[in-house]
Amino acid sequence: MKCKKVHRLLPLMAGGNLRPSQISAVKAHLERCSECQREYDAYILSLETTKEWLEKDRKDWEESEWQRVVQNAVTQKKPEVSPLAPWPFRKVWAYALMGVLAVALTLLLVVNPFDIGQGMMPDSGVASRIQAQLSGSPLEESQQQVVKMTMVLPETGQKIIWFFDKNFALEVNE
């Protein structure tokens, strides 16, 4: 191993961060090269001294200060669900779902499937009676106890049926 390569490896050698094969090669070189050995000693000196300084200058919390910091952490933020958590515990999914529902609702309002002109087709008998009530003419006494009104949705073919008893009265305030 040449001096140039050894010089490159010395910082890691000083902290014991080389592979065993590299360590033995560097050691063999150091035994026969005094200049590299001096360089290695300088690394060891600087590293060990800095470690000692760091150890000697370690700071610690005052107990009250530490307790306050921990208390702040606990009270400031309640534990939240991780962004990696599966649905429905993840907020992102909840917001996405709300967005989809909002879009769907908007589309429903724009398209307006409850189009009365096309979809609502009341029975002719009931319609005539409603018309009679609206115009103020006396309603003919009927023997029928229950009347039925059916609405058919043209898109889905779904039927909605209302049943009215004979006492049903439609009031329109104008």
Partner: protein
């Protein structure tokens, strides 16, 4: 006395036991504070970083994978908080040059106070030429004794990158020692 392991404590915190949170962090409180302090060089800023880190630890505790090292996870969050702090304040260049933190060197013994200040100044001198990344690698590996693999996981980089930064950091520190004429180990020891 039987000690609860970290996973048990994490479980208790998630169930709402606040006392377990303190118990969980107590072994690392000094290390986290010192890491933040070395990154900024200021005690008040270090406390601020730790406060931010602890809030994040508590907030994202659900995301901590049981069975992994809680220590590494807490250090990772603290270092990221320190990066954020330094980025926000734009103090990469003048971290060491700022106003000296007198509170830490406060001591009733003038001689001890002088020695503490000397040591503090020397550490700052050694670390001032390191980039934030080099500083983090050096402090994790040589200051807190994390392995190269652990350091790479904390900093989310490859082992090769850790070795490269570590090598550069040690070279810069060694060069700084030369500039400070600290050629004799015994002399240094006596001064300490």
């Amino acid at each position: 006395m039987w000690m609860k392991n970290e996973d048990e404590l994490v479980g208790e915190v998630l169930q709402g036991d606040h006392a377990s949170f303190e118990q969980l962090l107590r072994p690392y409180r000094q290390g986290l504070l010192n890491m933040a302090y070395r990154m900024t060089g200021n005690r008040e800023e270090a406390k601020e970083i730790c406060q931010d880190a602890l809030v994040k630890v508590y907030k994202y505790l659900h995301g901590f994978q049981r069975g992994k090292s809680f220590k590494s996870w807490a250090y990772k969050i603290t270092i990221n908080s320190a990066y954020d702090f330094l980025r926000k304040k734009k103090r990469f260049e003048d971290t060491v040059q700022r106003q000296k933190d007198l509170e830490w060197s406060r001591s009733p013994d003038p001689e001890r106070q002088y020695r503490n200040k000397e040591i503090k100044d020397r550490i700052e001198t050694c670390l001032k030429n390191l980039s934030p990344r080099e500083k983090a690698v050096f402090l994790l590996r040589d200051g807190d004794g994390f392995s190269v693999d652990e350091t790479s996981k904390i900093l989310k980089c490859s082992s090769l990158s850790v070795r490269t930064h570590l090598s550069r950091a040690r070279k810069k520190i060694r060069a700084q020692f030369e500039r400070m004429n600290l050629g004799y180990r015994e002399e240094v020891k006596n001064e300490m």
